[in-house]
């Protein structure tokens, strides 16, 4: 994986000192909260419901054991012994003190980590396919391109006060495991006639106005990659709406202009910027790519001993095909039945770090599904890995099942939320685990947001749940048929909302309809697409 050189390190160190100075000026009263807020946000520091919250960037979700151990240490030293892994492959700490924040950032900097641009109206942490570098179906490893973008977008002088936040995902396979088309810019690295280039999508997003990004350029030669991104951003910075923060994302600009007009403007700016020359030297991509050379895989057994049914189930559920046939990628579930999705204790982080070191070439990933991943595990080692995970409460065999719920922090932590998300996730996962229906139902992506900002991706859930405020009480609307994958679609709302007990019953009814009507091999989403909304509505409201 990528390693900082002295320049990268100096940038991060300088940022720590800059933030230390900003925090000092705030505490001395030289900065008002209004002035300090955008500065702390650009260092990932929010003021949340109960305390400051620090969001640490994990670029394209890749980290090593040493970094995970520092994340664990920070949880113990400055927080309350745990952290929360997010849908953008980051980690959040919920109880950081402003006066400690610069010290926490300094600790992060010792392992090439930071909280730069994890919030604010700037280009955020670049996300990617969690199976990058391991997946059998990728064209290339997308992470070098994501790293090139990370450097380009870090402290970008022109794009630090954009109309609104800006999220970019980079993938490199037909399968989309990063919700690429639900990003402000989605990039797919492709190969045409042996030449690598980038396909750009722009104007996707969730939030209160969900949109699927249209294709805006089918092929950008890779030596013009950054220039094209710069053109996309410049058009957005100049013309994105600033009169209404709810209409300020690029999706609204692309929608209001029409994709064709946005493309025309970008192409004009692109031609201009090509003449100016903003692209990094060609050798830079090669330098970065060298860091992502595949590890030294060795041949070995290609099957496991399935005599332990619990282990066999976990292998079936939580492992993913690897480009080397003696390896798999192993999902570490942060979704124990009844647990808080995405939360991990410092002890669990250390277990995971140790397993990465021993069994996965010192590499870990954070998945957008709020799970962790050991990308390169020898099939021969799977049993040992599973045993250790299970002991640490990390062995739930539930990837992509109804227990593998994405949930935003909701009203338990978030100052924007209208309703709690976590208790619903806890009750639903517990209920399905208890009744043994999880396996029967199979793949079903349930996503819960505690407000319309959609951090829990409810628009992209096979079943989505949105918490709303109904006269001061929590109320939950159900939607069906969303997908964040290559078959991307936006979920449609079923009808009036439910209270907490009601929504749990409603989820069960919806899965009843699916089980009663599914054809062979159909996932929930397939059945919904075949039979439509009506049978589900009938069951819920009839």
């Amino acid at each position: 994986m990528y390693r900082y050189d002295q320049y990268d390190q100096a940038m991060v160190d300088a940022r720590v000192e800059e933030f230390r100075d900003q925090a000092r000026r705030r505490l001395e009263g030289k900065l008002t909260e209004d002035q300090f807020k955008p500065l702390r946000l650009m260092n990932g520091l929010y003021l949340q419901l109960h305390a400051y919250m620090l969001r640490v960037a994990i670029p394209y979700g890749t980290l090593d054991a040493r970094q995970m151990e520092i994340l664990a240490d920070i949880a113990d030293k400055y927080d309350r012994g745990y952290g929360h892994f997010t849908t953008r492959q980051n980690i959040q700490y919920n109880w950081i003190k402003l006066e400690d924040c610069a010290d926490a950032l300094a600790d992060l900097a010792t392992v090439e980590m930071h909280a730069i641009q994890t919030s604010g109206n700037c280009i955020r942490n670049i996300s990617s396919d969690h199976f990058a570098g391991a997946a059998a179906d990728e064209v290339v490893d997308p992470r070098p391109y994501a790293e090139l973008m990370r450097q380009w977008s870090s402290f970008h002088p022109e794009f630090t006060y954009l109309p609104r936040k800006f999220k970019i995902a980079v993938i490199a396979s037909e399968k989309d495991r990063a919700a690429m088309r639900l990003h402000d810019i989605g990039v797919r690295i492709v190969a045409r006639d042996g030449e690598v280039g980038a396909q750009f999508y722009a104007g996707g997003g969730m939030g209160r106005t969900p949109m699927i990004a249209p294709l805006i350029r089918d092929f950008v030669p890779i030596d013009q990659f950054i220039t094209y991104a710069e053109a996309c951003l410049r058009v957005y910075n100049r013309y994105g709406r600033r009169d209404n923060k709810y209409k300020a994302r690029i999706k609204i600009l692309v929608h209001e202009l029409g994709a064709a007009e946005y493309i025309r403007q970008v192409e004009e700016e692109f031609a201009h910027l090509l003449s100016v020359g903003v692209e990094p030297p060609r050798e830079e991509l090669a330098r970065i790519t060298a860091y992502f050379a595949p590890p030294a895989f060795v041949d070995g057994p290609k099957t496991v001993d399935r005599s332990d049914p619990d282990f066999a189930l976990w292998v079936d559920r939580n492992t993913h095909r690897h480009k080397h046939d003696a390896y798999v990628s192993a999902v570490i579930s942060l979704k124990p039945a009844g647990g808080i999705p995405g939360d991990a204790t410092s002890e669990q982080m250390r277990v995971v770090a140790r397993l990465a070191r021993e069994y996965s070439f010192d590499e870990l990933r954070v998945m957008h599904t709020q799970n962790l991943l050991l990308p390169h595990v020898r099939i021969a080692d799977l049993h040992a890995v599973w045993t250790a995970l299970d002991e640490a409460g990390l062995g739930a065999p539930n990837m992509d099942t109804i227990e593998d719920i994405i949930a935003c922090p909701g009203l338990d932590y978030c100052s924007l939320a209208n309703a709690r998300s976590i208790p619903l996730a806890q009750r639903i996962s517990e209920r399905f685990a208890e009744t043994g229906r999880t396996e029967v139902v199979g793949e079903l992506k349930l996503k819960i947001s505690g407000c319309i900002n959609a951090c829990g991706h409810h628009h992209a859930g096979h079943i989505g749940i949105l918490g709303v405020d109904k006269k001061g009480t929590e109320n939950y609307q159900i939607s069906l048929g969303g997908s964040e994958a290559e078959d991307v679609s936006l979920a449609k709302i079923t009808g009036p909302g439910f209270d907490e007990d009601g929504v749990i019953a409603a989820v069960e009814k919806v899965t009843d309809i699916y089980l009663a009507t599914r054809a062979d091999g159909e996932r929930f989403l397939d059945t919904y697409r075949r039979i439509g909304m009506e049978p589900f509505k009938e069951a819920l409201y009839g």
Binding site: P38, V278, E284
Partner: protein, 151 residues
């Protein structure tokens, strides 16, 4: 009235030029396009900096107004002017804060007239924050990638 705009030289707190500052008022972008003799113009966030490109030769001062610090359109305006070869004074005025100075400098601003004077020491530190930079921008600094690959 609309043409009686702009900051006077004594409102400029930081200036990175040796020439004499323009000492008369600036005009709006619209007026600038109509008047053949205007040498100072003031850009508001909603203005298209590119309409000034035909007149760059006669301009000695372009002020870019930041009515609020969170409106970043002026950064693009500045770079567009520099990319087109504008060599006169480019002044950031209005809600210019300490922590924006280094980025503004990179986008081509070479003078600063914050509406609230900034702490000199804090500002000096802010201008010096980034010894190296990742992106090519209007200041023509060699980037980190350039340095990595120089022969």
């Amino acid at each position: 009235m609309a043409d009686n705009l702009g900051t006077s030289p004594d409102e400029v707190q930081f200036r990175f030029r040796d020439d004499e500052p323009v000492d008369h008022a600036a005009v709006t972008v619209d007026s600038c396009c109509d008047q053949t003799n205007a040498t100072a113009v003031r850009i508001e966030p909603g203005d298209d900096a590119r309409v000034l490109l035909p007149f760059l030769d006669r301009l000695a001062l372009v002020e870019v107004n930041f009515p609020s610090f969170g409106d970043g359109r002026g950064y693009s305006a500045a770079r567009i002017l520099r990319e087109a070869g504008y060599a006169g004074e480019l002044r950031a005025v209005g809600a210019v804060l300490i922590d924006q100075l280094s980025h503004m400098r990179r986008c081509g601003f070479d003078s600063f007239a914050p509406d609230k004077r900034l702490d000199e020491e804090d500002a000096a530190r802010a201008f010096a924050t980034w010894e190296n930079v990742y992106q090519r921008a209007a200041d023509a600094r060699r980037t980190i990638a350039d340095k990595r690959h120089e022969a």
